[in-house]
């Protein structure tokens, strides 16, 4: 069940985090330790058990279909790294 360097590179890409070869190697060892600890779960018999997504259960509350938000563009965009004409700017998006 051990992870490989390829796994680390693949996951880092999925998570969009740049990772150098050296970092990947170090991370690999740590991740394998952690997964070694997690392995114990696979030996537990959970047949017939419902997974628990929410500790207290319950069902989703519904909100009335009503416009409640006003134009808060200025404060909401206050922390934007780059913006112009009310748009967030990013390096060119290629389809």
């Amino acid at each position: 069940m051990a992870l490989t360097l390829d796994d680390v590179t693949r996951i880092a890409h999925l998570a969009r985090i740049e990772i150098s070869a050296a970092e990947a190697a170090g991370t690999l060892a740590q991740l394998n330790d952690i997964f070694g600890m997690i392995e114990r779960l696979s030996r537990v018999d959970t047949s017939g058990i419902e997974p628990m997504s929410h500790p207290l259960g319950g069902t989703q509350r519904l909100r009335e279909d009503r416009v409640t938000e006003t134009d808060m563009r200025e404060p909401n965009m206050r922390n934007a790294p780059e913006k112009q004409d009310g748009l967030f700017l990013v390096p060119r998006v290629i389809e």
């Binding site: 999925l14 929410h54 989703q60 909100r63 279909d65 909401n76 700017l89 990013v90 290629i94």
Partner: protein, 479 residues
């Protein structure tokens, strides 16, 4: 389509739901606002925000499920679909994965006079992403998140269609239905109704499906048809040349009429779906479904059958009048206002009204001539006050100036002349003024009779009762 090949098509449609606010936030969904003025903290995925579900979106989903005869799930789950894209603020889309709100269902289409049922796999609720604007901002793209969070119903079919014609028929039928139900405004230019087509080919007779490609960016029925046709040819050519179709997503380019592989998409995206811990399971009770069902409009098919039965209309009329709820409602209101022959009403609605509506690009509810006004007009034909021909003039006037049939008839002095004495006088004048036509008629030329009728109508400025004119003219020529 080459004779030895068969195409298999499935459609995925994203219909923007016509709610006032977004699916998980209270922002407006109105189209066309300035960038990011309708993007709240929730829509921008600022740190610390949480989603709350819009009851209106759920109601739309239930209506759809009922209309297509699907199962509305008693319990469905929202899941996170994880991927990175600048127009996806959270880095995940809240959607539904294993347990969608609508399961199954079907849509009937008519192609070349044949009925076919397209089975639906499912329909689920999810949120729309924002938009990237590619007008260069010194080499950068602009991101507008007004659209992020707009509720979508994603409707997925089984791979049941076997031609681009069937695919277009389905898309049109689905479009009509969601507009009819009032759950989507159907405005394809504004992106309210977007289709993706999954297309594969296989040699005729083969049971297994070929490898399919998904074609995106189809926002008109014409593009849908063209893109599918192009893709069919591309795949067949590729296979016949010894190549293999690669499963991928392709974008349709309407300017070049071709599809091309999407550069940024990875071959097999790992979306890492898991139930969204910020949202609890959506429960829809039988009572809730019953309430929605009670408030649903009569569906097009049922209404068509009723029009044929209740109003004695031919199938063509029933189909034309039920093209939209607005038109059908107009028709019924006009029948009620008129109180007479429904077929007469139908002719006027399908003819004079519909023509002008199309020209002015108006819905029936915006017609300047209301059902009450039309009903009043038709009454005056029925009681002989005016002829059908004059009535058309009156209608035209009402369209532009408003008012009522009676006021226009009065103001323009359009009352039909039914007084036999007055008509006799007119006929006498016409006979005196047209000796040549009289001679020709007496010589056996029936056409001359029509010419004389025409002259009488002209002399009376169209107001003479044509039946009486005919009768009196005949009598005088005979005698």
């Amino acid at each position: 389509m080459r004779a030895d090949w068969e195409v298999v098509i499935g459609l995925e449609t994203h219909a923007q739901l016509a709610t006032k606010s977004k699916i998980f936030s209270g922002s407006s969904t109105r189209f066309g606002a300035l960038p990011n003025v309708q993007a709240s903290a929730i829509d921008l995925a600022l740190p610390g925000v949480l989603p709350v579900l819009n009851a209106g979106a759920v109601e739309c989903a239930i209506k759809f499920g009922l209309a297509v005869g699907a199962k509305v799930a008693e319990r469905s789950i929202f899941a996170r679909k994880n991927y990175f894209y600048p127009d996806l603020p959270k880095g995940y889309q809240i959607s539904q994965y294993e347990i969608p709100v609508v399961q199954g269902g079907s849509v009937t289409i008519h192609v070349d006079g044949v009925d076919k049922t397209v089975q639906l796999t499912r329909a689920h609720l999810e949120e729309d992403a924002g938009k990237s604007l590619h007008e260069d901002y010194h080499g950068m793209s602009g991101i507008d998140l007004n659209r992020a969070g707009t509720p979508l119903l994603e409707i997925v079919t089984e791979p049941d269609m076997r031609s681009s014609a069937e695919a277009v028929a389905y898309a049109k039928a689905l479009h009509s239905l969601v507009v009819w139900l009032g759950i989507c405004d159907g405005n394809m230019q504004e992106g309210s109704f977007r289709c993706d087509a999954n297309v594969s080919v296989r040699p005729k007779g083969r049971k297994e499906f070929g490898t399919r490609c998904e074609i995106k960016n189809l926002n008109s029925f014409r593009f849908l048809e063209q893109a599918i046709e192009h893709e069919i040819t591309r795949q067949i050519d590729l296979i016949e040349d010894g190549g293999r179709v690669v499963q991928e997503t392709r974008l349709y380019d309407p300017d070049r009429n071709e599809t091309r592989s999407m550069r940024s998409k990875e071959d097999a995206m790992d979306y890492r779906y898991f139930p969204d811990p910020d949202l609890l399971p959506l429960e829809i009770t039988a009572d809730a479904v019953a309430r929605v069902r009670a408030g649903m409009p009569e569906l097009p098919q049922a209404m068509r059958a009723r029009f044929e039965a209740q109003y004695g209309l031919p199938a063509y009329d029933a189909a034309t009048l039920t093209a939209s709820r607005g038109l059908a409602g107009y028709f019924e209101a006009a029948v009620a206002a008129f109180g007479g022959d429904a077929k007469l009403v139908s002719n006027w609605v399908m003819g004079d009204l519909l023509g002008r509506l199309h020209e002015a690009d108006l819905g029936a509810d915006a017609a300047p001539v209301t059902p009450a006004m039309l009903g009043g007009l038709l009454k005056r034909i029925a009681d002989g006050t005016i002829s059908g021909k004059i009535a058309k003039e009156v209608f035209a006037t009402l369209w532009v100036e408003g008012g009522s049939a009676d006021t226009v008839i009065e103001a323009k002095g359009l009352r039909q002349i039914s007084d036999s004495g007055a008509i006799e006088k007119i006929v006498d004048e016409v006979l005196a003024a047209n000796p040549k036509s009289v001679e020709e008629f007496r010589a056996g030329k029936d056409k001359a009779f029509n010419a004389l009728v025409g002259q009488a109508m002209k002399a009376s400025r169209g107001k003479a009762n044509p039946t009486q004119v005919n009768e009196i003219l005949k009598r005088k020529l005979a005698g």
